[in-house]
Assembly symmetry: D2
Homo-oligomer: 349 residues x 4
């Protein structure tokens, strides 16, 4: 077998960085050989620098790797970024300027007109934006982003329905605490409680979704015309964002058409057989009380979005429930799938 591609992880000691470490463990194509983090961690072994908080243990291969500064110098060409948005803008830009391909989970470049906001099943053609990036930013490298965790869940559930003419989407999310990183949400704030506010989240859903579902015209994305309104809440769930969705179409399809669209949804990752691609990107659950985080979040290795409770909406056309794994399909798994698509399409050298 061919040697694996060496990759780095920016923000390696944070929660998303840790998820990258797991997501890339035993990956058939990629191998982590470099870890970058803030000065506090620089020079330490990874197992001393990272406050490991995940249920699966730290990969042995990474334990003794020495964490380096988050600077381009010695990093491999491909780097995954789990950086906090407070520093991601500057550092990811520096890596792109130094010729790296940055597969980022941070929000900083998501809405940049020449940066793809990619969900490989939905908008693989947006990769064409990469060709315009060099010119627009004057850097030899590239930046590729995945959406915000709750946006992924919603977008996956909406994408198969584009064919019916998406017009209006009202959504309320019930989001897991792991979406806020570590230490993140204080237990006193969320134990047996609901917090009906997540900073900036509703705006992200309302804008990112339109770009994701948008059309590539030349070297730009025409945002989808759908209008969205989101309310977001934090609930005492470890993993899994639930979205309660109402949707209005240009023309109301039959329930069978909607179900068929959801169930038959598939895309480039499935065609390529990408390592992280779930066999079914969307599973429809017929039980009346599903999907539920405790029962459904691990479906497809956390890469499948579960949908249920399709029924008529007295105000719009249909309402239904969607659930996805916020740190897998909504973060580290999303970025790895993006990198896999790049490679499968010959864009990783």
């Amino acid at each position: 077998m061919a040697r694996k591609l060496e990759v780095g992880v920016l923000g390696a000691t944070g929660m998303v960085g840790q998820q990258f470490a797991l997501q890339l463990q035993d990956h058939p194509w990629f191998e982590i050989t470099w870890l970058g983090a803030s000065q506090r961690s620089e020079g330490k072994r990874y197992d001393e620098a990272a406050p490991w908080r995940l249920a699966r243990p730290m990969p042995d291969a990474l334990r003794s790797l020495i964490v380096e500064a988050a600077e381009p110098g010695r990093a491999p060409q491909i780097v995954f970024s789990g950086l906090d948005s407070s520093v991601a803008g500057q550092i990811e830009g520096a890596f792109a300027a130094a010729g790296h391909i940055v597969i980022s989970n941070a929000r900083n470049y998501r809405m940049d007109p020449v940066v793809p906001l990619l969900i490989p099943e939905i908008n693989p053609e947006h990769l064409a934006l990469l060709d315009a990036q060099a010119k627009a930013h004057g850097w030899p490298g590239r930046i590729l982003t995945n959406p915000n965790c709750s946006t992924v869940v919603l977008s996956m559930a909406l994408a198969p329905l584009r064919r019916f003419g998406l017009r209006r989407v009202m959504v309320t999310t019930l989001q897991a605490i792991s979406g806020a990183g570590y230490p993140g949400v204080a237990s006193l704030d969320i134990l047996a409680n609901v917090v009906p506010f997540i900073d900036g989240e509703e705006e992200k859903i309302e804008t990112e979704t339109k770009k994701i579902l948008g059309c590539l015209r030349g070297t730009a994305i025409d945002p989808h015309e759908v209008v969205l309104s989101a309310q977001t809440t934090r609930v005492p769930v470890a993993n899994g964002h639930t979205a309660m969705i109402s949707v209005a179409f240009d023309e109301r399809p039959s329930p069978e058409d909607v179900l068929d669209a959801l169930r038959s949804f598939s895309g480039r990752p499935q065609q390529h057989g990408l390592p992280s691609a779930p066999a079914q990107p969307i599973v429809y659950l017929p039980e009346r009380n599903r999907p539920q985080p405790a029962l459904d979040v691990e479906r497809g290795g956390g890469m499948t979005v579960s949908v249920g409770r399709l029924r008529p909406c007295p105000l719009f056309d249909y309402k239904f429930v969607a659930l996805g794994h916020n740190t897998v399909r909504g973060a580290a798994g999303a970025a790895v799938l993006n990198a896999e698509l790049l490679k499968a399409e010959g864009r990783l050298g």
Copy 2:
């Protein structure tokens, strides 16, 4: 001081019955002198019959009261009903036929055209239906109902906004486990989980709200023309139903007008100074992450509905969050306030 009115509690050993016991403890007007329950409890002391599950202890005055059969015979004229809907229809009807005034929390008679579905701050004029009851049902007694727990929270938040012409309401609720009684929700179903389904709840919200906000025309209620669409979820919260609401009006009011309508909302209970009436039926919280069950549910002794996060909705006119105590304002407290209004308006003999 005048002697208190003797009252009974139907379904006294269940969760709602227990809440009645607390809600009526040291009540200035009413005194529980009779407890009725199913055959299993008949003849037992209350403290032996009721599996007490509330944080405040059982009132001493009730401990040794002997539970009787749920039959009209020896019960006082006024009875509160916390009966399960599987038996409430038959038993409450029997009590009304025997001349009792039944203040019910059960759903069975809520949508009966001659039974008021009362929230005293909102539709006190609906009490006029009582006069038509005798004729329609041919019984000397009366039945008066309060709405479903999540409907109360929503209706309270909407009532002050009627003046702007309510057109469309989209709501997603996050409901506490105490709303399902005891044993109710299994812990394996809800610990660190969300269940996006509550049997019959969405229908209740969509229909009861229209009756509550409806107009009395002669001896009938014209349902309000607003169209509602509800999605309901169960979350791991002990007490307090949260509602994420989007609302469209005939004419869009200014945010100041909406805030003013909410804050100045008041009604007959406040005018009468009813014992269970909160000084402010609605409190608007300006903090960006409120209301929260853990912090706000006990406001006004559990009788105040908290509202927050008023902001424009990209699809409708406004979105906001409402929270209310499901077993107080949404159940036992609601029924007691109904009884107090009856008395204050001279309808309790």
Copy 3:
């Protein structure tokens, strides 16, 4: 490869029965071909009869299997029993009388003098009791049991320390809700709460442990002389029983000796390479705040017991913490490992 042995599951629709279904999925030696349950389920497909409550979905191979009556007639020779103790005594006896080998998780026969209470790493020689069973009970079949879920965790942690002369053990457990079956613990009882009582649990720990650690003398077990005192609590954790243990020895070993005993612990399942045997039955975690259910319960596929925080006890010799998966190592996995040992030792025909 040889054909798999056909096995049945008694109490197939209950929580333990469902766990058997998962634990035996794709098992290299056993294949479920028969499901027995109560009359309510008889004649139904398994996917209609069982209220599936586990995170991994029901095995496809079992979905359409028709549930039969819990009677010996058509069942295969080997049956796993997840029956409730209210019926297990009678039914398991009937199966043994009809010549079946019953691998039971129920408590009814655990303390029977001729029934092994088996943990394969600890007391495989107790299988010799099986030879005395026919005579004592006059049945051609056999019954083999595994301990109560919290007892397994404790016994596993104590077994390696027998060499130092176990004298006294004080233990407080913090037990997961899945140990109580489904619906089991009501959410109102356990959400953000602790219940310091589990019916019968302390007695089971105090007696079963002595039998498990006991010595086979001829055809009887001499209970171990250790004296135990247990306090048991229920906590809002899904899976994983935690035990806080203090232990006094005949002679105080050094900490190194204790650690070495724990880490090097191994037994017949590891020697045989049984399919369900974890490579390490016990893992010692050096971090000061481990083991934790959320991080450690899945270790070794749920068959490894995690130990941590070994330190001197001011009253006894040492105190430490142990954690094990209550439905895997403490129930279905325990029974399957028992069956595997039977087979490996030539006791399954």
Copy 4:
């Protein structure tokens, strides 16, 4: 009515400081007129400086009070201290040196030989240490401390049993998240989890308890001879520390004697009728599954310790369960009761 004594609160913006604000609201003897905190809060209004996290709202009287530096200058003579232990040693010493009476909840001076570690029902005679303080420390003021939150619960349950000759105490605690302050425990660490470690907590229980139960000899405390061994865990409970206790006596009393000792326990606060004193410092609950945080923590306004499940211990004499409110009886309420005792005994000028 006499004017109230003016008091200050050190560390006013922290969690314990906020609890002092509530505990002293409408207090008949004391009135907060001064708030001291770190530089970050200096000069701000209290409602802007304090990130309020309690279920009861901030007292209106304090909202506009300006927070000052934590320096003696303008503070009233009596100050309550909710300072973090990282700064409490230095600041509380400075206040005592400047002539203030410091009623502290911090741990820094608890084990100082001339500082009382007071629980007014248990060791009011330890106040005599105050007379030795001036000489030992050379300061005109005084420092008075209350114990660590879990120690209070245990000590209260043990104090009535001193008469039987306490010899050995084994205890495992299940402690609420509010004991760790705010933000304190990360939700990812504790949601549906148990953490079997609290830094320094076991040592505090094992040493503070001996001082609290100790004898005053001249101007020093002879620690009680009881030997304690503690294991401490954090559980997902908001308020209320549960302690699972086994105790050995010089001579084993009858169960009736133990129950009688617990139930009749009373002390100087009850004799004086102190405002914060519960009528019954200890309540024994006969139900087999009590006490529970969700049902019992608010007993006596949070100042009563609930005990239950008294039964023989196979290793020691008895085992039982105790529960107390960690932020009331275990922190702010404890300090206020200490101050009330000072005043009632004429030690507040």
